[in-house]
């Protein structure tokens, strides 16, 4: 036996005597109290519970690692990356226009915000920010605000469902359905629209759209009222949400939490007011705030924001009526696709007249169309940053161009990604049941988190 060494070793060196002080032995006889024995056995153990990534209350594939003591969460960590699809990398290999097709798939609950932010950033690089036609901006605002309502309805609905209030979810999704029908009428799709394009939007709204939208909005307003009646004064609902998941103003600023979570602390920070885009400064709406900074206030705020969005949508519909027939794409034919979309036999495609014209009468138009669609347009060298007010907070897009027809780099600062950093602050010290509520109040969408 060599002399004792101080070298680190994982296990006790062989032949060491006096094991009794470190190794506990339990005997199943005697007159001891089983409670004492159990307490002694697990007293210093850590219990780490893995919640997700397939848990239904984690909004997709969020993984929560909770260290618990009884029902109390002593440590909470979020694990992400299960839905990483490399969208940003993929965008570097497609044209600038094709980029909208990719970024719309990031946060799939609020796809139009990624499209809008990305297109606004590309327009900055192109130097055509002021040339985007008014009607295109109005349609963008209209679509974004409708999307905000749809997204908040999903947040409130699934949040209710996770607490066992299924009716909240069914009402929320019924109302969302009305909005998705409007999206389908305008873009042809219920999600993954790729509708907002650099320079404007892909196609004008269909005939009779404003009438259809006004009808749908009546129903949405009705469902919103039902949701408010069902939840906001409900004692069980309030007991579960009030003073849960509290994050104060300095916590929010330190962690760069934006959106309803920040506004629930009382700070009326909204990009639509602070740094308006798409002409938001010309719309009349309020930024609701609350004081409680808890999960209940965030639900109240989201419902109130839905009403404010309805207000904006109504103003946008008036402007749509007024600008009937005006262009929805920049006049520059080097950027605007010549496409005149119409539903063909296969349910998509160009209008037959347009194809006949360019195929039969104008070789130059055909060449131009072909080059613009296959090559894409060039974007001047430089970088641009654009933020928009996403339903979950401030969405930022950083695009870099090397002067080519593809983005050199496209980075999305997704609010869900950033806000998930608050998981531990909001959950630690609470109960396991509060974790579900707190995460729901952050409203993460993992498609946006992982990109």
């Amino acid at each position: 036996m060599s002399a004792p060494t101080t070298a680190p070793h994982a296990t006790r060196a062989a032949g060491n005597e006096d094991m009794s002080s470190t190794v506990r032995a339990f005997e199943a006889y005697g007159d001891g109290d089983w409670d004492d024995i159990a307490r002694e056995a697990i007293g210093e153990e850590r219990i780490v519970v893995n919640m997700g990534p397939q848990h239904p209350s984690t909004h997709g594939v969020l993984r929560l690692m909770l260290e618990i003591d009884g029902e109390t969460v002593t440590e909470a960590r979020a694990g992400i990356g299960y839905l990483h699809t490399g969208i940003e990398k993929n965008m570097e290999f497609r044209t600038w226009t094709q980029g909208t097709t990719f970024c719309t798939r990031m946060d799939y609950v609020a796809p139009l915000f990624q499209e809008a932010a990305y297109c606004l950033a590309v327009e900055k690089l192109l130097g055509i920010t002021d040339d985007v036609p008014e009607r295109a901006s109005v349609i963008r605002v209209l679509m974004m605000e409708l999307n905000r309502i749809a997204s908040h309805l999903v947040c409130v609905g699934t949040g209710g469902n996770e607490m066992g209030a299924t009716t909240v979810m069914t009402i929320g999704f019924t109302a969302r359905e009305e909005i998705l029908r409007l999206f389908e009428a305008v873009t042809g799709l219920r999600m993954n629209h790729a509708y907002i394009r650099p320079g404007g939007v892909a196609v004008d709204t269909p005939e009779g759209f404003t009438t259809q939208a006004r009808e749908a909005l009546k129903k949405v307003r009705h469902y919103l009222k039902q949701l408010g009646d069902l939840m906001l004064a409900n004692p069980i609902f309030k007991a579960r949400l009030t003073n849960v998941g509290v994050l104060n103003l300095s916590g929010c600023m330190a962690l760069a939490i934006t959106g309803p979570v920040l506004r629930s602390t009382g700070l009326p920070y909204d990009v639509r007011k602070d740094n308006p885009y798409c002409g938001y400064e010309t719309y009349d709406f309020d930024v609701p705030t609350a004081k409680g900074a808890d999960c209940y206030d965030r639900v109240v705020l989201r419902i109130e924001e839905c009403y404010q969005s309805l207000k904006i949508v109504e103003q946008a519909l008036e402007r749509l009526d007024r600008t009937e027939g005006e262009p929805v794409m920049v006049a520059d034919k080097k950027i605007a696709w010549p496409a005149q979309l119409a539903v063909g036999g296969d349910g998509q495609g160009n209008s037959l007249e347009h194809i006949k014209k360019i195929m039969g009468t104008s070789m130059e138009a055909l060449i131009h169309h072909f080059k613009l669609v296959t090559e894409g347009f060039r974007v001047p060298v430089g970088q641009a940053w654009q933020t928009v007010e996403h339903p979950r907070g401030e969405l930022g897009v950083h695009v870099v161009s090397d002067g080519g027809t593809r983005p050199y780099r496209a980075h999305f600062r997704d609010p869900s990604f950033n806000n998930l950093q608050a998981t531990s602050v909001m959950c630690e010290g609470g109960q396991v049941a509060d974790v579900v509520v707190a995460v729901a109040s952050l409203d993460p969408v993992l498609g946006g988190v992982d990109r």
Partner: protein
């Protein structure tokens, strides 16, 4: 590979573009269509196009930009008395991107401060804490890989917002590929925690002083940093209606 194009490789001596004070080559494009190694039949093989990012802007910058830069210089000068960096040491250059606007007051105009990496934290601290600056909100880190920007291949871009003054600015920091270290800003902006992990994950930039710099999106045992330009996109050819569509990274580029 020797260039067999008539006229040959003519782009070896690059000159700065007209009117540029500094020359920031971030990329050199050769030929057309991204064709390599297949013999050039296009006649464009001798084309060499340097891609240079916008150069430093001259004073006055316009709008509130002069004021912010002046205040930052003052705050850093105060700090320099107790061992901090001076403005000239910390800020390499200031770029104002007009983005097509005629006056710097337009909303789309952006201010970029290029910061020496060793002084990044001091600049962030000044920008956050001084009452005339108050850039209290950091909207994350975005990495960019410029393989042709010699000794400055890896860039980290920070976007700061001042809620108090309703202003936005951008910080850009560069590090060589051989020494990919940038100090972590988490001590000033805790929100950059995950963003720095993401940038490390995708670009391999090591943020010194970060509390737990591990991969965040990719699996822990992943090899390589996927957003670097030398990392292939991957993909397989897809057959559609009898034709074969090649994977995106082998298609032509213009």
């Amino acid at each position: 590979m020797s260039d067999v194009t008539p006229g040959g490789d003519q782009g070896s001596a690059l000159t700065p573009p007209e009117g540029a004070a500094t020359f920031e080559v971030v990329e050199v494009r050769k030929g057309m269509f991204g064709v390599q190694g297949s013999g050039d039949t296009s006649g464009y093989g001798g084309l060499v196009t340097p891609v240079a990012m916008p150069a430093a802007s001259p004073r006055p910058y316009g709008s509130w930009f002069d004021q912010v830069v002046d205040v930052l210089a003052e705050v850093l000068a105060d700090g320099a008395r107790v061992g901090g960096p001076t403005y000239d040491q910390a800020v390499e250059k200031v770029v104002v991107d007009l983005h097509g606007a005629e006056s710097p007051d337009a909303r789309q105009v952006e201010l970029t401060l290029h910061v020496a990496r060793e002084h990044l934290v001091a600049v962030c601290q000044a920008l956050r804490d001084d009452q005339d600056l108050r850039f209290e909100l950091s909207l994350g880190v975005s990495g960019v890989h410029y393989p042709h920007d010699a000794d400055r291949e890896l860039h980290a871009v920070y976007h700061l917002t001042s809620v108090t003054h309703s202003r936005r600015l951008r910080l850009e920091v560069a590090a060589p590929d051989a020494d990919p270290h940038i100090p972590s800003t988490t001590s000033v902006y805790p929100a950059n925690d995950w963003h720095e992990r993401e940038t490390f994950d995708f670009f391999g930039i090591v943020f010194d002083g970060h509390p737990a710099l591990t991969r965040i999106e990719m699996p822990d045992d992943w090899v390589g940093h996927p957003q670097r330009k030398d990392y292939p996109l991957g993909g397989i050819p897809v057959e559609y209606k009898g034709a074969t569509v090649p994977p995106p990274d082998t298609r032509r580029s213009y």
